[in-house]
């Protein structure tokens, strides 16, 4: 292992910087205003995080139930096989995403402009 000391230090340093940035984003990340949902890479709808609601999203491959509450959004239920989207938990900060690969579903938090919200929501 001593032979690789420099390499390990380098990898460790990079991971440390990544951890610091991660921490900074967690603590100071800007609160988002809108949850943007896309299915198969196409926009499905935008939902304001200010009002609590439940949104049923039906994709060609299955259903996901989105819950918006107190500025957070999470996938509460889904009939995908792995349930990774459900386990990703609540997100609220700009740039955070929940992704359900089996359904090609992506939920992204953005700053958003309030005028746009709900203009394209739902189907």
């Amino acid at each position: 292992m001593k032979k690789y000391r420099n390499d390990i230090i380098l990898a460790g340093a990079v991971l440390a910087v990544a951890a610091v940035f991660f921490f900074i984003y967690m603590v100071w990340g800007e609160r988002g205003a809108v949850a943007e949902v896309s299915v198969d890479g196409e926009e499905y709808g935008k939902y304001s995080l200010r009002e609590s609601r439940e949104v049923e999203i039906s994709t060609s491959k299955g259903e996901n139930k989105l819950v918006i509450e107190n500025g957070y959004v999470c996938v509460k239920e889904a009939d995908c096989p792995d349930k990774i989207c459900v386990r990703q938990g609540k997100i609220s900060r700009q740039g955070q995403t929940i992704i359900c690969l089996p359904h090609n579903l992506v939920v992204t938090i953005t700053g958003g402009e309030d005028e746009d919200v709900d203009a394209t929501a739902g189907k």
């Binding site: 690789y4 380098l10 990079v14 951890a19 740039g95 992204t108």
Partner: protein, 172 residues
């Protein structure tokens, strides 16, 4: 003699690019089950790193650029190609400098390259998409770069004796 050398070089580029191309194809068949866009094993970089260590720097650079253009047009979109182009530029520069210091092994150099590749892509994407929200991925992509770059470095270290032997055999 000189002409023969040139011909050999052209054949080398062809074979190496084909290999990188094949790796990229294999990778496109098996997407990683991670919900983060932009994370790939980067198998094609095995070729670039291996060439960097077994041939001239210039050769590695040419192979790196050629493979981005080739795989970009075949498997990716134009925007993906632009992102990886910047990733390759940054990562190649970093690997070159790191290798020059002679303080690191293939694993370290490749790790650095993996991280810089992701960083370059992210910066290019942020500029093109005009959004800073992508930077949220920065820590994740860095950590991923360490893992994939390190793995690639290990593989290259592993195949290097065989590759060197093969090149020497042919050059006899």
């Amino acid at each position: 003699m000189k002409k023969e050398k040139k011909t050999r070089k052209i054949a080398d580029y062809g074979a190496l690019c084909a290999l990188a191309f094949l790796f990229a194809y294999l990778e496109s068949l098996v997407p990683l089950p991670i919900g983060i866009p932009g994370i790939k094993l980067g198998l094609a970089n095995i070729v670039v790193v291996a060439v960097l260590y077994n041939m001239k720097t210039k050769d590695a650079f040419i192979v790196a650029i050629l493979r981005v253009v080739m795989t970009g047009f075949t498997f990716g979109s134009l925007s993906a190609m632009i992102y990886s182009f910047f990733g390759v530029l940054l990562s190649f520069l970093g690997m070159y400098i790191l290798k020059k210091t002679k303080k690191f092994h293939t694993v370290g150099v490749s790790t650095f390259g993996g991280v810089l590749h992701n960083l370059g892509q992210l910066i290019a994407a942020s500029f093109i998409l005009e959004t800073q929200s992508l930077l949220y991925y920065f820590p994740v992509l860095m950590a991923a770069g360490v893992l994939t770059g390190g793995l690639i470095g290990l593989i290259v270290q592993w195949i290097s004796p065989a590759l060197t032997a093969a090149l020497n055999y042919r050059n006899r």
